[in-house]
Symmetry: C2
Subunit: 409 residues, 2 copies
């Protein structure tokens, strides 16, 4: 009989978001009359920008006629979109970027999950704590986890705590890892790194030969002038960092599925025999072998986001969510709670009052306010004592949530 | 410095289809006046069925309004599509299938490439020869290749030759492997297995504890009554086979991207410690961790293919390609060439005349007839001496190709 990948069996059974969904479903069954406000999972609610809708409609029209039909596209993405990305997200901000360093895909989660494929299975991985579970789980599946410890950490992974004490700037591991995941604006804490703070990590990575896997899924929420939207705003980042981008939060593409990954030519890993290999070439090989490109129709929609109308429309949506974040942050603070994030981010990281645990506070908010949050402990041990709230609801429901919170404590 | 996955470096540099594209581009540059007919890569040319276009347009309209907006969907695919698939592709043909055994994705290539993730890295893999390169390359990337031999075979992989001598029914490996890839109707040979022939493989797999990974991407082209369209038409297949399906060839979704994988509950692999693990659970875990579902809009389009109108429309396109295949097969035979396939398949496998090699015959067809084919040797050693032609061109170009072939020999 064939054997399965036994690393899978080491993963705890229940994925965080599935577990929460079940708790909420149970609550709903018991309280069918309650108006539940969902601020747990980071899904968006605003409609897709008209420019993108028109782009997709155009793509569909093309598919309806033999003269304009589009079959297999380049695995890396259509040139019209990659050049729009290079210009709109990089050149326009003074960052050099070649079209062929950009790899369009069906979403950042796929790319983040698959990227470790091209790295050695014994590489040491460092993650911030708390952390988006995909970074950890995908490496455990790839054999890099070691053993799961009673404290919820994996022996093979280095954790960089982000706490109130260090101002949510990650503590570096004792020994330089091979790969370091950073996500800024951060999921789940909503905190950011300034230009100087991020430069510290870039310099560290270059000095120590570390590859930074930088998740910039929330960059569109940055408005503070000293906070970078791309790691490539930092000198030297092209030599040490891959960047993952998503259209999910920027343009509401959570159900449409589109993202991209930047792999600069300068990135080189060791081949284990004294030679070096360009990561861009490996990722291209991975994608051409195991992926067949993102949907043409969705790429047509995304390209329209880079027009003046498209930019204006998605900025209006971002502003909408940002004003929710402000409302939420001020509401929580007004209710006597301590919060972090929510300024350059759609996430507010709220401290549990009176020594409650994450899960106790999560239950309290569900039971008393009918608000669904995410327990911080689900993101790692250093998330204990916090919950994450998202600003992706409507103005009306966010205002209602804030009203309910007033009477919480 | 971090190390890369050194198995990638073992792969030959050039992917078959990229190499052909370059040869053709060079030819075009040298002969700008030549009308080149592309029968190499298996991409389709007919427009998308009106039913699917309308389904996608409806999906886009939903995305334009907050009331009907759809965000993250289930990683396994929306229930409306999975139930349409279960009914339309299985129940209607008398095959039992639960909705939650069906995993919708962005395409069969992704699923085929990613599926080995859930299997042990030391598992022995068997493939037919010739073979779709993705089966081999994805396993080499996963460390199962061993060493590349001078004859183009990998020492760690078992090859099952499909030749004129055995009527293109694969020879079984000397020792039972852990996993066996089968693709029927076959890419590249266009040949099929009858119900009894496929039953032989299913029985072998059950007796020997082998997992069959069955690629049914071309099932829509089957019209012979004794040729199965799904491996689950064979008794016992639920206990030994995963099936990959694609909307690419069935409905022209090569640029839209959609496929699905069937993982029956009965499939169980060894955990290496005397226990057994359900493959369905592992694949679900893999997909929820590293994938975020296929695009809602494209799923809306696919669901409409299962309506009476949708079925009729895609059948008309399949019939169109099938009549091309007949024209091509008869034209090649009429020109004195020996062919296989092309009956229940869009591929015709044509033997090189006068002892020419695959590449020589490929060059001859390009130079003399301006027809692009795929050299059979690119699919493995047993493909030597053949080229693959596809029926996905237009009637007009196929007729023109046949006309040119008349004067070849």
């Amino acid at each position: 009989m064939y054997e399965v990948n036994h690393y899978f069996s080491q993963l705890p059974q229940s994925y965080l978001f599935s577990r929460i969904a079940k708790t909420v479903a149970d609550f709903r069954a018991q309280h069918p009359e309650a108006e539940i406000i969902r601020m747990g999972i980071g899904d968006v609610t605003r409609p897709i920008a008209p420019a993108a809708l028109e782009g997709m409609a155009e793509g569909i029209r093309a598919m309806g006629s033999a003269d304009t039909f589009v079959g297999y596209g380049p695995e890396q993405g259509h040139e019209f979109l990659r050049s729009a990305i290079a210009e709109g997200d990089f050149h326009s901000r003074g960052i050099a970027m070649a079209d062929d360093e950009i790899f369009v895909s069906d979403g950042a989660k796929s790319d983040i999950g698959n990227f470790p494929d091209i790295l050695d299975s014994h590489i040491r991985v460092a993650v911030t704590d708390p952390v988006y579970p995909v970074y950890v789980d995908s490496n455990v599946m790839g054999g890099r986890g070691g053993k799961l410890q009673p404290d919820g950490r994996w022996s093979g992974i280095d954790y960089m705590p982000c706490t109130e004490a260090n101002g949510f700037v990650p503590d570096l591991p004792a020994k330089a890892p091979g790969v370091m995941y950073l996500c800024y604006p951060n999921n789940p804490t909503g905190t950011v790194l300034t230009h100087d703070q991020l430069k510290y990590f870039v310099d560290y990575a270059r000095t120590n030969g570390v590859l930074i896997l930088f998740d910039a899924a929330y960059e569109a929420f940055v408005s503070s002038p000293d906070v970078p939207r791309s790691i490539y705003e930092i000198d030297g980042a092209r030599e040490c960092a891959v960047e993952f981008r998503s259209f999910s939060k920027t343009a509401g593409f959570t159900g449409l599925r589109l993202g991209y990954t930047v792999v600069p030519r300068e990135l080189r890993g060791s081949d284990g025999h004294g030679g070096q290999v360009a990561l861009r070439d490996l990722w291209l090989r991975r994608q051409t072998t195991k992926f067949n490109g993102a949907s043409y129709v969705i790429q047509c929609g995304a390209a329209q986001l880079y027009t003046p109308e498209g930019r204006e429309q998605i900025q209006a949506t971002i502003d909408y969510y940002k004003s929710n974040a402000t409302m939420l942050r001020e509401g929580l603070t007004g209710a006597g709670l301590t919060t972090y994030g929510g300024v350059d981010s759609p996430y507010v990281w709220c401290k549990a009052p009176a020594g409650l645990s994450s899960e106790e506070f999560f239950r309290l908010l569900l039971d008393r306010c009918h608000i669904v949050t995410t327990p911080g402990s689900g993101f790692g041990p250093s998330g204990e004592g916090f919950v994450r709230l998202t600003a992706f609801s409507t103005h009306e429901l966010t205002a209602k949530a804030v009203e309910r919170l007033k009477h919480l404590i």
